[in-house]
Symmetry: C2
């Protein structure tokens, strides 16, 4: 059986288990440096008294992201993959063993920074969210369509610097909507706070 | 034999062939949206009468990058990989069959936007160049070390907006030098032109 097939089976098992326990699981994907961790830094701080969240962060190397997310009242586990270009259901399972999931309403998984490979690996998540920053160029959704097609929500990040970098926001929105017509589209800045409340309502809606 | 092993064999064959013909081959890697195509747009225009260059561009979907590079006096071939997360030696070979390499001094390959997988696939190149933009965050070299370790040159891009995005340039330089101490470090902006001449001298040096 293929690696992909075996992962799909394990992910399906996890999805069933999550549904039975009522745990909402979010899989956050994007390019390196699109602002996944910055979004979670702000989210954990602001939602500390609104939602009980746990986090699994995947990276090739370092625990930089996990350390940035510590001390915000949420359990955080870092997975280092070595060279592996995506998290898979097996790695997520091992990370979960290091956590007490029972008090949690939501588990957020920050995937390895990669707009390609994570698209093919189901983690059993309730929802998949793709981030794309205003600095990457408006054609990225068209050039990396698979990961956008499979997203339940698409978040445009770093909108505070959209003007400074001359981003074509209209084109970016159009391109996202072309490849992911049914995805919820959000636009925000973890730095300025603009658009964050809509993101928080989305999370609370998932956990309802 | 593994996929990686078979690629290594084919790449070694190509490397030998390139050396015999005197063709310099550059493999350019980076995250999606770090400015690979923008760098090549400017390079092909400015070096039109200085260096005979051909280009192979790899993307999952679209020929957007190849179209941006047309009409600058260099032959350009687009490879679309479908879902494949990196170019390999076989894809490069097929693309080369569509080109007349004989008049060229240099073949530049723009790899799929991905800071992980391309690190493992030798293309038989003379030199590998990794790009990292000031918008991605200064810890990216530490978090994606393999692709930086195997680079002959590291190019910091988009320096024209470094100040606007509050980039920590000192930290970024330090981190690049930590994982790639022997790589040539360049800093430039395809938009303003700053630092481009050093990049051109690097290319001319390779082709000498
Ligand atoms: N201006 C601005 N910069 C931001 C924003 N969010 C993140 N950044 C910057 O973008 C860079 C990358 O942010 P990260 O949070 O590390 O991105 P990431 O997606 O987690 O990166 P990886 O986990 O390595 O793939 C950092 O320099 C951040 O300061 C934002 O809303 N506005
Ligand atoms: N300010 C500024 N923006 C730049 C510069 N170079 C590229 N950009 C912008 O960055 C975005 C991405 O540029 P691309 O050239 O498409 O990047 P890429 O690495 O080729 O992207 P992929 O091939 O899709 O991986 C575009 O919006 C460019 O206009 C630069 O030197 N300065
Ligand atoms: Mg991160
Ligand atoms: Mg490109
Ligand atoms: Zn992969
Ligand atoms: Zn790969």
């Amino acid at each position: 059986e293929s690696v992909l097939g075996r992962n799909a089976e394990l992910a399906a098992l996890h999805r069933k288990r999550f549904q039975e326990s009522g745990l909402r699981v979010l899989n956050i994907v994007s390019s390196p440096g699109s602002g996944k961790t910055a979004l979670l830094e702000r989210t954990l701080t602001d939602l500390r008294d609104r939602l009980r969240i746990g986090v699994i962060v995947g990276d090739l190397q370092t625990d930089n992201d996990a350390r940035r997310l510590q001390g915000k009242g949420a359990p955080v586990v870092q997975v280092t993959t070595g060279g592996y270009c995506h998290l898979d259901a097996g790695m997520v399972a091992r990370a979960m063993e290091a956590m007490d999931l029972r008090p949690l309403q939501m588990l957020i998984i920050e995937n390895v920074g990669n707009l390609v490979c994570p698209a093919s690996y189901d983690l059993g998540e309730t929802a998949r969210v793709v981030l794309v920053s205003v600095t990457e160029g408006e054609d990225k959704p068209l050039k990396y369509p698979v990961i956008f097609e499979r997203a339940d929500a698409a978040v445009i990040t770093k909108i505070d610097i959209a003007e400074a970098v001359g981003a074509d926001m209209e084109a970016l929105r159009r391109n996202i909507q072309q490849v992911a017509p049914r995805a919820l589209l959000l636009e925000l800045s973890s730095r300025s706070g603009q658009g964050m409340e809509a993101w928080y309502r989305y999370l609370e809606g998932l956990a309802a």
